[in-house]
Symmetry: C2
Subunit: 407 residues, 2 copies
């Protein structure tokens, strides 16, 4: 088209480092993302990323949905949409959440580009530099990555087998002016634990009495393999809880579709934040996902995924029993995608990852999940996107590396 | 599933206003978005939103692309992807930009959720509170909305028929420590003007000599109805320019797909920012768009759109000649989607919009496009998503309202 014009000589190149905002210095590459690059080598067995099982994606059903949407509603699907989200999809989510005791209206929901964007928007709307954010220790690294740019001061509360130590949380709330309390009650990423019902009740009670906001992140709640569903925090107190969930683990992460449920006035602010961030989430993707959901295809798919992931969890647990040396311990999660493994005190899993990769197996080292770099002797293993046979082989390799290094 | 648990009594409700971050006070609803709500009343003829013509979307071609991608590469398309973007789509963009004299490699590109996200990421990476950002006056309101949360101080430079007054820009650069210069060289939104080649050369020369970064926003460059393509700024100096473009106006805004081309080290920072913001843009959408592009379907579509929009522009210009009272003036754009109309000094278009909506016609009032609320007597008309017959009727209504109020 245009003739190439001679490139102007830059009299003075830009010193980019001098140009970046202060918050840019707080950005770091996600260790999960970097580890994915290792995991892309085909011979490496990766327990690193929290990826759903690719072979069970609803490809044909999604194809049918695309055909339906584009044959019947292309002019809407390919056009700009409202920031709040596609109303029929929000109506579907109202019903879906109702099954878990969550009473919400369409206007209490904002559709986001996966939960990650919901975390970012929460940070954007709530966190001033220096604000205290309470997280569990360990916690989801994506939340840290979303919020670091907003400059909070993290205060951590430990987990035990029943989830966050609510007694210790109460002490922190007495001592500190807290902006947000961030928790993952179901099949914690990375710790695998589930918050007990008793502590859930206590948690919302304390939060209400202190007037502090809880951010409840629930990407895995539907992937329960055994035991009873426990009431989400937002079902116990709608007023103080921002509830985040996603289609990533039950339908597809590649479509980037999540949502946040919150009091209407908070949704209003989140909508304004999202307008500036990207106007709205893909209309087309929302309508395709909605079509799959409205045809009732999600529920049987989730039931199937529960079976698949349960088998994989069981295989991983049995393999660890078989191949890991003494002195290694782990949590048995009731659902989700992750196992959290604690190695002897002197082990540094960041160093050990290099050894493991030589043995062609990968995981995420513990410190990625702590705002303060603890978790040195821990690692997260994901069992979701690896077949049982490969899980056993991968754990065998990992056990071999452990024995070689520390056995 | 779970039995409904009795909602805990909130001992103390949350005072949300006290919880929001300071930046949240700078968030405002987009006037375009709000106006869209008016425009949704079916009897209103809307010249407000900058929406592409829905009836020309490539519905069947997109459907074929979805079928191909889901039949052949579903496991990739529905899975997590890399933050940088889908490599074959980036490769396509390298070739596409080359046609306009832009030399870029795949690693110089980041795929975003429409240009709006690119604007947000640029703000996130570069703008500290108080930093000086130069915009044209008027300028794209989406940029203001993206950046307001980062707290810049805007300094504006006026436009004339040849685009930004580069001589006045030079004066500002001598006077102020400037972080970014934001320009829309082609078929300016909202002003409709195009930056002359002479000024393009001068602009990159000045920016290079001052070591200041230019943000070149080019959503409409391919929609030229007449005259020669002019070299993008980034083709004149790759070192100092961040170049933003999008599939929104040439394929579909509803899929939310745009990109930014920048020096590799800046892309690295933008990638880190995007990881925190939403991990990555939909793999599925990227692969579907890539399939349409690789099959060569975009070019003939763009040629068709040029004809369609040219006819609509011409109809709007002719209708304004016919129906608008004396004292109203406008720019004749060589491409794009917008006409910028200047009314007599004493007219307040924000007030006049109410009258216009009573006459069942809508536009965007001028002040939306100024960081400082000027443009009181101006309005933006979009001709892209209205058929010629309806354009004439809408302009007749608008002319009637003008005569009634100010004639």
């Amino acid at each position: 088209m245009t003739k190439r014009t001679k490139t102007a000589e830059s009299a003075k190149g830009i010193d980019w480092d001098r140009c970046y905002a202060q918050r840019t210095q707080r950005m770091t590459s996600s260790i999960i993302r970097e580890t994915l690059k290792i995991a892309q080598q085909p011979e490496v067995i990766s327990f690193a990323g929290g990826m759903p099982a690719s072979e069970f994606f609803l490809a044909r059903e999604m194809e049918e949905a695309c055909r339906y949407v584009l044959a019947n509603e292309a002019q809407k699907a390919l056009q700009y949409g409202v920031t709040e989200g596609y109303p029929p999809l929000k109506a579907y989510l109202v019903g879906k959440m109702q099954e878990y005791g969550i009473t919400a209206e369409e206007d209490d929901i904002l559709i986001t580009n996966g939960s990650q964007q919901a975390l970012d928007l929460v940070g954007r709307v709530f966190i001033d530099p220096g604000d205290v954010v309470i997280t569990e220790a360990p916690t989801y690294l994506g939340a840290l990555q979303a919020w670091n740019v907003y400059g909070p001061r993290y205060v951590t509360v430990p987990l035990d087998d029943d989830g966050i130590r609510v007694d210790q949380l109460e002490d922190v709330l007495k001592r500190e002016q807290v902006k947000l309390v961030y928790v993952l009650p179901n099949f914690h990423n990375p710790a695998g634990v589930t918050l007990s019902l008793e502590r859930r009740r206590k948690l919302v009670e304390i939060a209400a009495s202190c007037g502090v906001c809880i951010v409840e992140d629930d990407p895995y709640g539907e992937l329960r393999f055994e035991g009873e569903d426990l009431s989400p925090l937002v079902a116990l107190d709608r007023g103080n809880v921002l509830y985040l969930s996603t289609f990533s683990k039950i339908l597809s992460p590649g479509i980037r579709l999540g949502w946040i449920t919150a009091p209407k006035e908070v949704i209003g602010k989140l909508v304004q934040a999202k307008q500036g961030a990207d106007l709205h989430t893909s209309t087309f993707v929302q309508m395709v996902a909605n079509d799959v959901c409205q045809r009732g295809l999600l529920r049987p798919h989730v039931l199937k995924l529960r079976k698949v992931y349960k088998e994989r969890r069981d295989t991983m647990l049995a393999s660890m029993e078989k191949y890991f040396p003494p002195g290694v311990s782990w949590i048995r999660p009731q659902g989700g995608l992750f196992l959290w493994v604690t190695l002897p005190e002197h082990v540094d899993t960041t160093e050990f990852l290099k050894v493991a990769v030589e043995e062609k197996v990968a995981f995420v080292p513990g410190p990625a999940f702590y705002p303060d770099g603890r978790g040195r002797n821990c690692m997260r293993l994901s069992f979701s996107n690896v077949t049982p046979e490969v899980i056993e082989e991968g754990i065998r390799r990992l056990g071999q590396a452990l024995v070689r290094e520390f056995g």
